[in-house]
Symmetry: C2
Subunit: 384 residues, 2 copies
């Protein structure tokens, strides 16, 4: 019914779980991280068979607040168009879990967490993590919830990387996977933009070699610049043109100065300076690094198909025509590998001018595609 589509899930639960020395997190870098905490939200009810769990993985600057009002910003969940009652990931049918990634800054252990060895924030003493580490941490959470097999792992951008990693590393635990607007390997251009952001943060004297927590400072200007540069890559040239073109900001003519004459300048500054209120600069370093290191084929002798050998997981891959950050060609590499592995895969390229961020926005064809895929997979799983 139409009137139920937009109601917020009333069954949201905001939780944390801490894993002690008996359950350390074995990281790719060789460190065993302990203790570690995962902050996560759930929506809906786990059925008696524990077969209706959907794990939603967030992107670089996302968090666990996928479908509830964000406690810090007061804004709607970052994917509340997708997750909620009557929505494609229907919280009336599915038990939805969304954890903050390891290395994050919304309650899961990351560089601003206290290092038990020193009693101070980790800073750069936090071990460098990978997408595989993020997923390994999530297996602890899924175990904790008593779930053997996830009905679905879904996410866009870095969330899509996690979905791919889940399906590759734990194929028997992933009934279906929905990686959107993503890549199986970070490209030179992707790494380049991330490096610019990291250099901007590290150039800020308030960064203090990552130990700013001890100095009562935060590298806000550097982080804002990093966010501004990244934000441009999330939008298409066409959407920037349509939204801003050369429109002036609260003025009739150019001022011959360096203020925000143009709306696009004002918008970018706003994006940069609101971001620093909700994000930790070191988390930005660590999470971008994890993405840069992501190269799923490299772990399988250079064969991406090898990463999905004998998989029984059902895949739905979605790309967007105007996404130049993770363009269709990157997504098609995944599809080709899945085809080579004889996997069950649907692929849709959706015509959109909204760029990479399209996966977060109101794209009816995406909703229809995912609803169809999820309903079909649910039927195969015997879910109502």
């Amino acid at each position: 019914m139409a009137e139920t589509v937009n109601r917020a899930p009333s069954n949201a639960k905001l939780e944390t779980v801490t894993f002690g020395p008996d359950r350390p997190l074995s990281l790719d870098c060789g460190v065993a991280l302990t203790p570690f905490t995962i902050a996560y939200n759930t929506y809906g009810e786990l059925n008696a068979e524990k077969s209706n769990a959907v794990l939603v993985c967030h992107a670089l600057t996302g968090d666990q607040h996928v479908a509830n009002t964000h406690p810090a910003t007061g804004k709607p969940g970052w994917w509340d168009l997708m997750v909620g009652p009557g929505k494609p990931i229907d919280t009336d049918r599915f038990f939805v879990i969304c954890p903050n990634v390891i290395g994050g800054c919304q309650g899961t252990t990351g560089p601003e967490s206290i290092n038990p060895a020193t009693g101070k924030a980790y800073g750069l003493d936090f071990p460098v993590i990978t997408i595989a580490d993020m997923v390994r941490a999530q297996t602890h959470l899924v175990d904790h919830l008593g779930i053997d097999s996830l009905f679905c792992v879904a996410g866009g951008s870095m969330g899509g990387m996690q979905a791919l990693q889940w399906a590759s590393a734990y194929p028997e635990r992933v009934f279906s996977a929905i990686p959107l607007a993503t890549a199986a390997r970070h490209s030179a251009q992707n790494i380049a933009f991330h490096e610019v952001g990291r250099q901007a943060i590290q150039a800020d004297p308030d960064w203090h070699g990552g130990a700013y927590y001890d100095h009562g400072t935060r590298p806000m200007k550097g982080l804002a610049v990093a966010r501004m540069a990244a934000h441009i890559t999330y939008m298409s040239e066409s959407s920037l043109f349509q939204k801003f073109d050369r429109n002036l900001q609260d003025r009739e003519q150019i001022t011959y100065g360096f203020g925000p004459d143009f709306q696009i300048e004002s918008y970018l500054r706003h994006q940069g300076f609101t971001f620093v209120d909700r994000f930790d600069a070191n988390s930005y370093l660590y999470i971008t690094r994890a993405m840069d290191y992501f190269d799923l084929a490299a772990e399988h002798d250079g064969s991406l198909a090898g990463a999905f050998k004998n998989t029984k997981t059902r895949f739905c891959i979605v790309s967007f025509t105007s996404d130049w950050h993770y363009p269709t060609s990157y997504n098609k590499q995944i599809v080709h590998a899945l085809n080579a592995a004889a996997a069950n895969v649907s692929f849709v390229e959706i015509a959109s001018d909204k760029g990479h961020d399209a996966f977060l926005l109101n794209e009816p064809e995406m909703f229809a595609t995912l609803s169809g895929f999820i309903n079909s997979a649910a039927a195969q799983r015997g879910l109502k």
Copy 2:
């Protein structure tokens, strides 16, 4: 003969000219700048009719050293593939002039020049300039050289903007124009990337509100970040892939750290930190602003065709398939306007995977196109 193609022009002259209070530069912002100096290089000989002069306009980070070894870096001129004896812009036939733009930092008056009103460097007291101001300053130089009509005005990127501005504002003084890889209006995405660079510079505490000359500092880190971000836009995704892909820098495996594990990171850092040795951060602010303000149609009631009404100038417009900074679509807007103005225009889109920087690189089709155009125009002009 092949062996002559690569000899450097032996007739390079490095000059400066200062225009005093009797010849102030009237800027678009309303300020009359005086005195002002133009540093420029010439190559070749002006003929008796003064009809063989080619004005080469440089891009954002270029300078007057188009075809001679750069006195500071020791590197070849930035366009020595194009300009020199036997090259498309043949210094054995033409008198080539290349001035440093107003607002620049290689000898032409700019923000690091001494403000006669204070006896100190201008810094942000330097007036904000436009592409039209750059061209207006160049008319002083061309007058000084006794040249009524330029045989050709050529340039890529911001140099192309100057070529368009010359042809629009002084049509009777421009026999032919070669704008390459350029735009008649800076787009929202173009402005966005520039704004990121400016924010990075202004975030650097060594910038001191632009008065760093007085503090014995230079905002090197901020300028390096600005350069890194911009540099990504000058290359195509494909060229970054082919040149760097995910290759590691002097190491066998990733280090789980924030050093330059990847070649692309090392390359970008090198680009950033060598740039600051040769460029003034405030000049970067001023010149990017001039580009942002460029909108040739806006000066003609929104009609780009109106900017070229009744033009007799011959145009050769060149774009590159992989240039996403000033893509073919931007260049075609110019072509369409010139067509609407019934101008004499050639347009070539050159297949290249080198991105925006292709216009600076070894692109044989570009050389062939420009040689053909220049030879034809020279014949029409009665030049040998």
